[in-house]
C-alpha cells in the first residue's frame, strides 16, 4: 500500500466536533413536520457554543424521503436553518454520519472552516418493514419483501451456528444497553430488566426475540464540525476527529459472510483505531447480535465501555442513529469521561456498509 493510500482515513487538518444536539427520541412524533422537529435542535447545536448559522460555511444533511413518503423533504428541511444568504449545501440519502463524513472531507481539503451537519429520521409515518425492503436488490430480493427483522434474524442464526454467540448473549446485550440508557435523558427505551427475564420474550422472527430488536423511533440530531482555531474558540474541550473512514460490502447477502464485518474492520484500520486504546465505543448495532460482530471487527477488548448511551437498542431513529453515536462519543470526550473513543455507524441490511470515526480529547 502506498503512503498516500495508507494515510487516507487519517486526519491531516485538525477538525473537531464542536457541538452536538439531539431531540428526545420518541416512538412517534405525530405533531410536528420535519422543519418543526429540526428547528429546536439546530438552535441548540448553535446556541451551545454561541454561534449562528452565519458562522458555518457549509451545510450537509442526511435523510430519506421514503420514510415519510414526501418527495424532496430534504429541501424543505433546510427551512429549519434559514439559508439566506445562500450557502453551499449538500445532502446524502443516508444516515447523518455519512453527511458528517462529507463535511469532514471538505474540511480536510481546506475548502471550509466550519460545517453544520444535521439529520432527521421519522420512522413512524410509514411501515418500516416495507420501506426498508426497498433498499434491497430490486430484481432478486425486494420483490420478495423480506423485512429488516427477518434479514437480521438470518444473520443472528448464522452467528449462533458458527458458535460465536448464543441467544443468552443477545439478551445480555439488550439488558445492559437499556440499563445504561437509564442515564441517557434522550433514550426512548430505558429499563433495568435482567437478561433472564428478557429470554421469556416471544420470538419476533426466530432466533430474534422482542428485546433483540431496536425500537421504532422518530428523532433528529445535529453536529457542528470546526477546524483548528475555530474549534478552540467555540469549544473549551473539543473532541478531535483523528481518523474517519467508511467501507461497503456487496449487496448480495448470499455472497457475504454474515458472521463478520470486513468493511468495519477495514474502515477501522484506515481510521487508525488500533493506534491506541479507546475508553468507550459508541456502536450502531440496531440488532443486539450485531454488537458482537462489530466489537470483533473493531478489535475491542473488555476494557472498553460499549454504548454507554444505550446505543441503538435504546433509540434507533433511522438516518440519525449513526450521527448520534458520533455525537455521544464526542460528548464523553468533551466532558472528560473519555480520552479516546470510537464511534460507528451502519447502513443497509445485515451491516452492509460501515463507518468508523476515531475521536480524541486534547
Amino acid at each position: 500500500m502506498s503512503a498516500a493510500a495508507s494515510a487516507a482515513g487519517r486526519t491531516n487538518r485538525p477538525v473537531s466536533v464542536a457541538s452536538f444536539a439531539q431531540a428526545h427520541n420518541v416512538r412517534r412524533d405525530d405533531e410536528h413536520n420535519e422543519v418543526e422537529m429540526l428547528m429546536p435542535v439546530v438552535a441548540e447545536v448553535f446556541g451551545a457554543i454561541g454561534i449562528t448559522k452565519d458562522d458555518v460555511d457549509f451545510i450537509c444533511s442526511g435523510s430519506s424521503d421514503y420514510l415519510i413518503g414526501g418527495p424532496f423533504s430534504f429541501v424543505t428541511a433546510l427551512d429549519a436553518v434559514g439559508v439566506w444568504p445562500p450557502k453551499p449545501e449538500s445532502h446524502v440519502e443516508m444516515d447523518g454520519a455519512w453527511a458528517l463524513y462529507e463535511a469532514w472531507v471538505l474540511l480536510q481539503e481546506g475548502e471550509i472552516d466550519a460545517a453544520l451537519v444535521y439529520c432527521f429520521g421519522r420512522s413512524s409515518p410509514g411501515n418500516l418493514n416495507e420501506i426498508l425492503a426497498l433498499q434491497l436488490d430490486p430484481y432478486y430480493v425486494a420483490p420478495l419483501w423480506p423485512d429488516p427483522v427477518s434479514l437480521a434474524a438470518l444473520q443472528a442464526r448464522a452467528l449462533i451456528d458458527a458458535g460465536k454467540a448464543t441467544e443468552e448473549d443477545f439478551a445480555a446485550i439488550a439488558s445492559r444497553s437499556r440499563r445504561d440508557a437509564l442515564s441517557n435523558p434522550n433514550a426512548q427505551v430505558a429499563n433495568d430488566t435482567p437478561a433472564q427475564t428478557l429470554l421469556e420474550d416471544e420470538y419476533v422472527v426466530s432466533p430474534l426475540r422482542r428485546h433483540a430488536l431496536p425500537p421504532i423511533t422518530d428523532g433528529v440530531a445535529a453536529i457542528v464540525l470546526a477546524a483548528g482555531d475555530k474549534a478552540r474558540r467555540w469549544s473549551k474541550s473539543p473532541a478531535w476527529i483523528t481518523g474517519f473512514d467508511h467501507r461497503i460490502e456487496t449487496h448480495s447477502l448470499g455472497a457475504r459472510d454474515l458472521t463478520s464485518s470486513s468493511s468495519t474492520a477495514m474502515a477501522a484500520q484506515r481510521a487508525g483505531l488500533s493506534d491506541g486504546p479507546v475508553d468507550i465505543a459508541e456502536i450502531h448495532a440496531p440488532f443486539a447480535h450485531q454488537e458482537i460482530i462489530l466489537v470483533e471487527a473493531l478489535g475491542l477488548d473488555d476494557t472498553v465501555a460499549i454504548n454507554p448511551s444505550g446505543g441503538a437498542l435504546a433509540a434507533n431513529p433511522i438516518m440519525s442513529a449513526g450521527l448520534i453515536r458520533i455525537g455521544e462519543a464526542a460528548s464523553r470526550i468533551s466532558s472528560g469521561q473519555a480520552r479516546r473513543a470510537v464511534a460507528h455507524a451502519t447502513s443497509g441490511p445485515c451491516l452492509q456498509q460501515n463507518l468508523v470515526c476515531v475521536l480524541e480529547g486534547e
Binding site: 405533531e31 420478495l144 419483501w145 423485512d147 442464526r157 420470538y203 426466530s206 432466533p207
Partner: protein
Amino acid sequence: MPDSEALHASHRLEYPYSRSVGPVIGAFLTGLRDGRLLGVKGSNGSVIVPPTEYDPTTGDDTGDMVDVGPGGVVESWAWVSHPLPKHPLTTPFAWALVRLDGADTALLHAVDSGGPDELATGDRVTVRFRPAAERIGAMADIEAFVPEGGAA
C-alpha cells in the same frame, strides 16, 4: 398553543416501476419461467447464484451461465411465525439462504418446512416452482423451497 392541533391524514404512494433486466438477470428470470435455475461463472471459476453481470467480490465481468440446483443446502434461516402481508407465503415459513447444488453463493427465498422444528442449518431443500402457466419470469415463480424428501 395546544400541540394536539396538528392534523393527520393517510397517504398512499404508488410507483408502477418496470425495470429492464439486462442479459444476465434476464437469462435467470427466463430460466425461472421455464422451470430452470441458472447461475453464472465468476472471475475465479466460482458460480454465482442469483447471477449478476459482475462478480460481487472482484467486480470483474462474469462468464457463462450454468444450470444449478434444483436441490441445495440451507446456510442460514429465520422462522416467521406471523407472515407479513407482502411476504411470499401466507402461512408460517422460514426465510433461508439456500446454496444450490453447483453454486458458491446463496439465494434468499422462503422455505415451506411446516414448522421451525423441521428445519436446521445444513438441511437439504429443493425448489418448488409454481405451475408453468402461472410463471412470469420473476422470483415469485419459485413458490418456495421445501425439505428434500418432502416433509412438508
